[in-house]
Symmetry: C2
Subunit: 343 residues, 2 copies
Amino acid sequence: MTMSSTGGRRKPPTIHDVAREAGVSRGTVSRVLNGGHYVSPAAADAVDAAIRKTGYVVNRHARSLITGRSDSVGFLLTEPQERFFEDPNFNVLLRGCTQALAAHDIPLLLMLAGTDDERRRITRYITAGHVDGVLLVSSHSGDPVAEELRAAGVPLVACGKPIGLGSKVSYVAADDRDGARDMVRHLLALGRRRIGVVTGPLDTPGGVERLAGYREVLAEAGVEADERLVVSGDYSRASGEAGAERLLARAPDMDAVFVASDLMAQGVLTALNRAGRRVPQDVAVGGFDDSPAAVAASPELTTIRQPWDRISSEMVRVLLAQIGGEDPAAVILPTELVKRDST
Amino acid sequence: MTMSSTGGRRKPPTIHDVAREAGVSRGTVSRVLNGGHYVSPAAADAVDAAIRKTGYVVNRHARSLITGRSDSVGFLLTEPQERFFEDPNFNVLLRGCTQALAAHDIPLLLMLAGTDDERRRITRYITAGHVDGVLLVSSHSGDPVAEELRAAGVPLVACGKPIGLGSKVSYVAADDRDGARDMVRHLLALGRRRIGVVTGPLDTPGGVERLAGYREVLAEAGVEADERLVVSGDYSRASGEAGAERLLARAPDMDAVFVASDLMAQGVLTALNRAGRRVPQDVAVGGFDDSPAAVAASPELTTIRQPWDRISSEMVRVLLAQIGGEDPAAVILPTELVKRDST
DNA sequence: GCTGCTTCTGTGAGCGTTCACAGTAGAGAA
DNA sequence: TTCTCTACTGTGAACGCTCACAGAAGCAGC
């Protein structure tokens, strides 16, 4: 009875068993397993059959021991935990990376390092060689982990350009400035002229670039810049709410807001609603990300789509290339305006 | 210049280097590493010092090769991907499990198996022994993975009682029935008598139990049962919205709804709002989960808190015990009524 | 003295794989 | 024939660790 918890697990077949079954040597089986070069068709067939018959699966520990590679990559999140819970973007990215890696049969180790203590532990773990490379997800730039890993020579790809590390670290990012430009142009096209902005944190590339795009387009259109229309947030819903309140107090005639994230835009909607402003009639609201938060909001948000599926697949591609010995690379992907009900 | 991408990774120290440095044998170093029994204080100190000096970290592949254990566990999600994106509960659970495992220095491998194809691959991967055990997260019962893993003898802990597998599989769950009872009692205490319910899928234990709790309390209170007040959903936001519309059509005098998940409750709010019903004045709405969706909703949801932090830590505890050879176990945890603005 | 026991230490073997190398067979060219 | 080249195959030696075992040293009791 109680055996059911432990029973059923007998010794798995080894490469030896397969070799014996196929009537060839270990070496030949190994060659079949690793691409099949320099193997006669007859031998290859025999090995394939033997593998099927024995149910053989390669022991990754033994393989890793000799190759020095772990055939797994880490997905490292250095955000404090509440951001991970709150922001649906992480979910999408995680899912995308998992799938892209699955195509290469590479498992993903999720690593969360919210506190300094955890960060130390994880860094040690990674530099000990337990993963072949790291997908780094963190929006802030002061992050010491990226620099430590880079210095240790660990292949690394960041999501979003890490400020201050120059070209030594690979990254994949959406074209933040261009996306912001599209949104502000869209708001102008609707006839809005008093366009506010709730920026992201200005120590993040996304925060800086999206604000720059906003300013550029207004200047190009000859619309008077008004610093009362600029407030900054930290990508959280609460900061969006607070930002909108400040904007309304400072510029009651505001007829549109460009918000640097969908989550903040949700907060903006809450604040506008409370102030009795109708969206989009009185104030048009444009978000950024096209995260699940965009359709969860009411009204559904007009936003800038970040191509998360491509971002994740590119991150994986660049990381694997780097593990394979290539140099770091930067990839910038285009964004797209998605019109919904808030503008 | 381009060396910077590959350089910096020299051969890590082995147990041999430590032994030489400490002036002892491999065996002694290994003993220190694994608990330090039968080692003289002097030798232990020398080894500790040598480990610090050389920066030695044990090579897990080599260790796993001989012990046959991987010292890692899998977090397996067999939901279709949209549910993973949408439902914040998964996030919370994932985070909790990661942290609980981190305390044991055990990394977590995230495995997503939304399609049949992925399911096959992952099952093969797991049964090949690449993880020591699996934390299984999936709400539906028809799930073949649980049964396959159980049959293969893989230590397994499910989140929520798996229907149809009896006592052979460990699980950790919140007390769904009791939580539902609390919520319905709360609605009754507010003077509501025409209380509707949007259930979860009735092939999930949560769906069944929460509905049962609802029925029990109404019966106990002598409130007339009315099947027009009962509709079922699938835990998605959209199904909550559709459910509320059906309820309003069939029982326009409804003055409260108990919704079996916060996410569905968000949909219910949307539908009520569109129908011009004020919440909570006209219709009180009670959710379930106390997920981030509860505070994201407006008005913020009164709900039943599932103790996610305890659920995840218990799942990890039970799994590790089972890996250590103990028998499967079931853990039921209490819930708690959280009052907010929707009732 | 010898025997037995406990505590500690070193050594050889082996986990399952890949890699480098040596070697075989057959074809084609001189 | 002999030599060279290509296509393929087998074998021993690692990889870094743990485990089982054999021994050494110290101490007690006879």
